[in-house]
Amino acid sequence: MKITLLCALGMSTSLLVERMKEAAGKRELDVEIEAHSVDDIDEQLKSADVVLIGPQIRYKKNELFKKADSARVPIDIIEMRAYGTTDGEKVLDQALGLI
């Protein structure tokens, strides 16, 4: 299973990815988690099972959600507080809850 996080450049979400991997490791889940730039969404929708986007790019919601819907990939905006505190557990829960 693959979870993809998208933000403006894939830079700030990569911090969150590390925490999510730790959280997944603790639960012994077999997941791939990657951070990418939002411009790579088309590419990512081909391989991801679920996509989460950083709250700072939620103004692109319409475009991104439309794309994800037509690719039949569940998508959501990362909850702001969890994003800020890089709460890997919570965001992992959010991702798993979408599938």
Binding site: M11, S12, D39, R58, T85
Partner: protein, 430 residues
């Protein structure tokens, strides 16, 4: 009040920002220019080597300048030429058309519109930032005409079984001829009847006014306020604002590069490095200053922990952990200094550079370059590093009273609950 303002923003402002981000032509321009970014950073490396930030070293390097300028000319110097291709490519792709043909056609259109020198050579000065705006115009024109032909089906169709590389060349044939003919025709008419060129007209109508506004002190201040207002609502401000302003900032910087190479005084303070680096030390809002305060002075568990956890990201100008973690977003107490600090820093920097205390920036570095190196490298002046440190102290002073109040609030809440659940409680309290 904040609540109501926020829902107002979500309802009316967010769709505008979204539309702006999705707008096809703006997006193609932005993506096209982002594609050039690595080249500009490579060119910048040679710029730094040819004029190191210490005067005596710079003197030593002087004889090597012509050789070191070759890669600079091949990167910064071709900004316009590369942009016409990459913008047309991206725009065509966004329509699901063939990007390569569109890019190739747009290069032809660009050269048709470019007057050659008297010796019949390509004028290098029009290939750089001077050609950037006409490049944008012609890239869009080329793709739109091309698309019109495709939609009306006025293209040469090849039978099935012909390899794509062959039919691709032919589909572009009719629209390509028309594009070249129109650009050529307009240029000839302008030349013969008014003694003008397309380059001159675009410069007068588009480039000059846009640069006048975008490159001015007030233009920069408005941009800084807008960027931080957006961040205050948790929106990536620089992405939104740069999607319109980036071409202007890059071309201003390229003019500084050209002046630097010619040994002239640099014309502009505002440009790409000013807008991407100078008021954004530690990320938007001079976030490094706030993060340092968290680590150094915070007494609440939340801010102390957040500061320790995000100081390294902040050193490399990534501010999201602090902006969303503190949070600054929708937190009136921190939003005020979050807007004031970069504004003050922007003003100090602008006037220090205008008055000549510090060199004007002309070098483009990756935005993750930590302070004070980013200050030294962008200006090619060691005093740039000093100014950047002063800026951080100024920002800390602006943040301090607000930070203290917020820290006290959190501390009171923490001692009330005496549990680790403080963040959630706070969220509910808001």
């Amino acid at each position: 009040m904040m609540e109501r303002f926020n829902s107002f923003m979500e309802r009316y402002f967010m769709p505008v920002a979204g539309k702006l981000a999705e707008q096809r032509h703006l997006k193609a321009i932005r993506d096209g220019i982002i594609a050039i970014m690595p080249l500009l950073i490579i060119g910048s490396i040679f710029l730094i080597i040819s004029s190191p930030p210490v005067p005596s070293w710079a003197e030593y390097m002087k004889p090597y300048a012509p050789t070191l300028n070759i890669p600079v000319n091949a990167t910064f110097g071709l900004l316009g030429l590369i942009a016409v291709f990459s913008i047309a490519y991206n725009l065509a792709k966004s329509y699901g058309m063939d990007g390569l043909s569109a890019g190739v056609l747009s290069i032809a259109a660009f050269f048709v519109a470019t007057p050659m020198t008297e010796e019949g050579n390509i004028p290098l000065n029009l290939m750089g930032s001077e050609g950037l705006f006409i490049a944008i115009v012609l890239a869009i024109f080329t793709v739109e005409v091309y698309r019109l032909f495709e939609r009306k089906n006025i293209i040469i169709r090849m039978p099935d079984g012909v390899p794509p590389s062959v039919w691709r060349a032919f589909t572009a044939l009719i629209p390509g001829a028309v594009i070249v003919f129109i650009v050529w025709g307009v240029d000839v008419i302008l030349k013969t009847s008014l003694d003008l060129s397309l380059h001159g007209v675009v410069a007068a109508l588009l480039r000059e006014p846009l640069q006048m506004v975008g490159g001015s002190f007030w233009g920069a201040m408005v941009a800084i306020i807008l960027i931080h207002l957006l961040w205050s609502f948790g929106i990536h401000g620089i992405s939104v604002v740069a999607s319109i302003m980036a071409p202007i900032w890059y071309s201003l910087t390229d003019q500084n590069v050209a002046a630097h190479q010619a040994g002239e005084a640099l014309p502009h303070v505002v440009g790409q490095p000013f807008m991407a680096i100078w008021w954004a030390v530690g990320g938007s809002g001079m976030a490094l200053a706030l993060t340092i305060l968290f680590v150094w002075r915070a007494r609440s568990k939340h801010l102390k922990g957040l500061g320790r956890g995000s100081i390294w990201a902040s050193m490399f100008n990534i501010s999201e952990p602090v902006i969303f973690g503190a949070p600054v977003v929708m937190n009136p107490l921190l939003v005020i200094p979050f807007i004031l600090a970069p504004l003050a820093v922007g003003m100090i920097t602008y006037f220090s550079m205008t008055l000549g205390f510090v060199g004007k920036p002309y070098v483009i570095v990756p935005w993750t370059t930590p302070p004070p190196f980013s200050g030294i490298l962008t200006t090619g002046d060691w005093r740039g590093g000093v100014l950047m440190m002063i800026n951080i102290f100024v920002a800390m002073a602006i943040y301090y009273p607000f930070f203290r109040l917020y820290d006290k609030q959190l501390l009171a809440e923490e001692s009330e609950t005496k549990s680790d659940e403080t963040p959630e409680k706070m969220m509910k309290a808001k």
